[in-house]
Amino acid sequence: MMRALRYLAPALLLLPGAASATPFTFSTYDSMVADLQALAAAHPNLTDLYTAQDRFGLPTIPEGGDDLETWILRIANEQMESESKAEILLVGVQHGDEVVSLDVCLEIARLLLENHASATPNPWLKTLVDRREIYIMPMANPWGHRRGVRGSPGAEGTEDMNRDHLYDRCDGGGFCGDDEALSTVGAQAIHELARRHNFRVMLDYHGGIELIIHPWGSPLHFSDTESPDDRGHDLLGQRMSDYGGNFNGAYPVGTSNDLLGPVNSPLDDTAYATGWDPANAATEAAEVPGWRALSYTVEISNQKRPPVSTLGGDADLLTPGGSEDGYVPKNVRIGLAAIDSIEPWIEWTNRDAIPTSVAVGDTITLEWSVRGCFQVDETRVRFGAAANPLTTFDDQTAAQQQTTGDPCWLTPRVFTADVTFQNAGQIFVTPVAQVDNTLLMQNSPDPNVAPAAWLARSRTENGLLITNTVDPNETSTIVGRTFWGAAPLEISVGDGVIFADGFESGGTTAWTITVP
């Protein structure tokens, strides 16, 4: 449970090295609502807090005199303009008795928001908020959570929500827990989100075992478990497991069918495949063409309600094996790894050292990192008179690459290039990168189709991939790019001598002033 102190003192936020030693405890429905409302009130410019009942018109769930609702928190920085921010969905407590997942979701929200407001923010976490749209449904099944049971009220009694989604419905034998798709309110709420958004990654937190599993996990694909996006699923799964760390052992990563066995209509297969394989899904699949997320079921702990002493604390959240490591920090890191990886971006790493005016023939050193990816297939600097040198450029430096190791992650590689400008004028400069063609690798995909997930397609194809206008107030669009660039720098190149005060002397341009 988060404490009010956290909201009153965001500057105390727990960044690496800023230990405050606050152990985690289990939240309740009521404390979750209070925490979410407090976070939204403290960070109105970064949050949109609503219930599926208010926004989508779904029914409340009466229980114990209360009308329980399905709460959704959207975290995004609207002040950061972007044509299409990458979207991710985090879900907790589909199974009401797997309570540990709730506090993971809440802690991710708190960490991101309080860091962003901090006077000394962690720049990586701040960037994640600025560049992403993060949707968190911390308690999909409030009825089950309050009763301490797995199921949720459905059309035919108590249903298993994680068998209530669209893909590979049970079609014979009566061995499914639920025969009607989307009969639970929580599954309907997730479906409504999927109608409106194009999530690149979906994480569904559970408890009862310790694994990270991904599609395939349904009987339809029981004879060959490799999905068309198995490469992407494995790369991100391994990254999440590695960054989660070794608390009680690193999570094994694999397909549900390989590690456990199949179930009908789980959320992970549904979120991955419904958009491109609607023929094997319920009729509602036509409503969710955007369900093409790399999808994971993260099984947090062998016990659905592990001892409080194993939850950990917030003293050193970002460090695997940190001073207060536990199931919550481990899975906060897993969530952050997913949020990081949903879209590439490029950062200048020596921007402050790059002069804004130089003389013809001068050589300057440019440094940059490529983030949010797995491999850098090609990166270089492009420059020229056009304002967007990503696509229109006069010259470029030699290509560099790193397709081994992990050049984009945690301690990203810094690429360096020396640039000498030969002509005077205003020059625009940007590093560019082509990344992650490895996501196209396949062995024996079932079915035998090309990678279909947005995460793979958005960085290996060019052009508009999907536009979703179900929500008239917020169009969700994915535009694919094979080359990514940073915000261009404008450099004034003069043919005289540049003095330290920015004045230029001599040459044909006479006296000009360059604005720093």
Partner: protein, 170 residues
């Protein structure tokens, strides 16, 4: 009698167990002898020709007076097949958790949990008999031997199928 195996074939690559299974089928003897006969379906493979109502309709059907004697007849029939069922190669029938299944032997005494699945137009009832739990790598994985049968009006038991169904309670 032959083993009826239905496998979803959607992949360009076939797993290695398929040709092995085919050879096994060619060489295998009928599953049951004088006690009766049954077919087998691999773990979690689709069950052909099973009439299964939705849960709400199953619950309604379960109240029908014809169901209890049908469940009883199917149970007695499956119990009569128990010696043959115990000789089943459970590893061959398994698709998951094969290692822990190796060496597992079904108990000497049968124990079934019967429920009705659906009813044909002529009144024939399709029933599911959940048998013993089978080993798995994790506690949250529940695997059981199941016997599916059709009980005709008048009590004759036909179309007996043995399979393994797997559920995960994570």
């Amino acid at each position: 009698m032959f083993k009826m195996i239905e496998i979803k074939g959607r992949s360009a690559r076939r797993p290695l167990w398929l040709p092995a299974l085919f050879i096994t089928l060619l060489l295998s003897a009928p599953v049951a002898g004088a006690e009766g006969a049954f077919t087998t379906v691999p773990e979690m493979a689709p069950l052909p020709d099973v009439v299964a109502f939705k849960a709400v309709d199953r619950r309604q059907l379960a109240k029908d007076a014809s169901v209890a004697p049908a469940l009883e007849a199917a149970t007695r029939h499956a119990e009569s097949l128990w010696p043959a069922l115990r000789r089943l190669d459970l590893v061959e029938l398994s698709r998951w958790h094969i290692e822990p299944t190796k060496g597992f032997v079904l108990p000497e005494e049968p124990a079934f949990e019967a429920r009705v699945l659906g009813r044909e137009d002529d009144g024939s009832l399709h029933v599911d008999l959940k048998g013993p739990r089978l080993p798995a790598n994790f506690d949250i994985v529940h695997r059981h031997l199941h016997v599916i049968a059709v009980v005709r009006p008048g009590g004759a038991v036909e179309g007996v199928t043995a399979t393994i169904r797997l559920r995960i309670y994570e």
